[in-house]
């Protein structure tokens, strides 16, 4: 008999709990899934009736932990179905080496997965160029230390005006079309968007210098892209200078660009960072090992202590 009409919170909790039942082995789920869910629903109703949403919130984590813990039990019990099997499964080594071996057994797959993923990630090469802005000869405008002018240069470098020159100069419509669009030429705007995604422009603090880093899966292409952007920017400034000399009014272009450091191909990839990934993989493996090993040892200890039937620890 259902004396407690379910409310939405109870329904929602039960829906989530039902999804978590998937953690149990199929046979156990089919045999006891409905009963477990019904029991949880009863608990939820009681919790809701006694303390409302706070009681329900307090119940849920406890029930979920219980589910996760017992699902591990059921999986291990499935693997070790009989006492005979449990006996043969019992390791003959002492607890400390047992713990150490478990940590290593968890650590190694996690660490190796990290290394494998690192080697599967495509390599990305970066190429850096550095430029300095300076006043054009005979300029009448203010100092280039003006931050607004530096920011203006920063934006101009990534503008359509400059990037369309880069696309044209490097013939990227065709080459990137072959590479990324099954041989079909890409539109200029698409390529400009791709370039913006692949470059990084940085203002160097308290200087008139800008650093442009270009990324590509090919070291030579990264260097060409970085240098091409500088060339495009210089061409753009030259065009503006020519316009100001012929037009009496309009913006005065009064800066030139010195290349401090041209981009050269770098053959050491910037991504993936193998050392960093290896360290992260090792730490993750160690953490996983330290978490899993006591849990498994606890289970094995319980099984050893218990007589028939093997029983689970109380839910505190």
């Amino acid at each position: 008999m259902n004396n407690h009409p379910d409310n939405q919170a109870v329904d929602r909790a039960c829906r989530w709990y039902r999804r978590l039942l998937v953690f149990y082995p199929r046979a156990h789920r089919e045999e006891y899934g409905v009963a477990i869910l019904q029991l949880f629903r009863d608990q939820c109703r009681d919790a809701w009736a006694s303390g409302g949403s706070l009681s329900l919130l307090a119940l849920c984590p406890v029930a979920v932990l219980d589910l996760l813990k017992t699902s591990l039990w059921e999986h291990l019990a499935t693997l070790n179905r009989s006492r005979l099997m449990l006996r043969s499964f019992r390791p003959t080594i002492k607890p400390l080496p047992e713990f150490f071996l478990l940590v290593v057994a968890v650590f190694l797959p996690v660490f190796l997965c990290g290394i494998l993923i690192t080697y599967m990630i495509p390599k990305t090469y970066g190429s850096v160029t550095m430029i300095r802005l300076r006043d054009a000869p005979g300029s009448s405008t203010g100092s280039l230390f003006d931050p607004y002018r530096l920011k203006n240069a920063f934006e101009t470098i990534q503008s359509h005006e400059v990037l369309e020159k880069v696309v044209k100069e490097l013939g990227l419509k065709e080459s990137w079309g072959k590479k990324y669009n099954a041989g079909q030429p890409l539109s200029g705007l698409d390529i400009e968007a791709m370039i913006r995604y692949r470059i990084e422009v940085q203002l160097i603090h308290n200087t008139q210098m800008l650093q442009i880093t270009a990324y590509s899966d090919n070291p030579g292409e990264a260097a060409k892209l970085a240098n091409g952007i500088i060339a495009g920017y210089r061409a753009c400034l030259a065009e503006k200078a020519a316009m100001t000399s012929t037009v009496s009014s309009g913006m005065v272009v009064d800066e030139t660009v010195d290349i401090i450091m041209p981009a050269v191909p770098q053959f050491r990839p910037v991504r993936p960072n193998k050392r960093f990934n290896a360290v992260v993989g090792a730490l993750a493996g160690l953490m996983a090992g330290l978490v899993v090993a006591p849990f498994v040892l606890g289970f094995v200890g319980e099984v050893r202590k218990s007589k028939v039937p093997p029983v689970m620890p109380q839910n505190s």
């Binding site: 009963a35 608990q43 589910l67 039990w73 039937p309 093997p310 689970m312």
Partner: protein
């Protein structure tokens, strides 16, 4: 089957068998009974309860009841469980074992009088 072979029982098993000693119950009633009888010290989650019941069924200490105490008053999906004769012998043996331990502790003046019954 010698009940002594199965001793000692874990608290969860002992309390489930105790709850069923008074008659057949469904899962939630067992859970409530255990929580009430231990003053809330032992609270079993649904997974723990049914995992333990599964093992007790496999060991033949409990069985599923075909009859329902009051079918009209209950959800028909509820499953009722009852103690088997071996189950009753095992829980009795465990209770006797614990009683002997309490007596021993009392003899060593670790506990109060005979009225003091404790189980941990």
């Amino acid at each position: 089957m010698d009940p002594a072979e199965m001793l000692p029982l874990t608290p969860a098993v002992f309390h489930i068998l105790l709850a069923l000693a008074e008659g057949e119950r469904h899962g939630y009633a067992i859970m409530r009974e255990v929580a009430d009888s231990t003053g809330g010290q032992i609270k079993m989650g649904p997974g723990t309860l049914y995992g333990t019941i599964k093992r007790l069924l496999a060991a033949g200490l409990v069985k599923e009841s075909a009859e329902r105490p009051d079918p009209g008053m209950d959800d028909e999906r509820r499953r009722y469980y009852q103690l088997t004769a071996p189950g009753r012998r095992v829980v009795t043996a465990e209770a006797e074992r614990l009683a002997a331990m309490v007596k021993l502790a009392q003899g060593k003046r670790l506990l109060g009088g005979a009225h003091f019954v404790a189980y941990e």
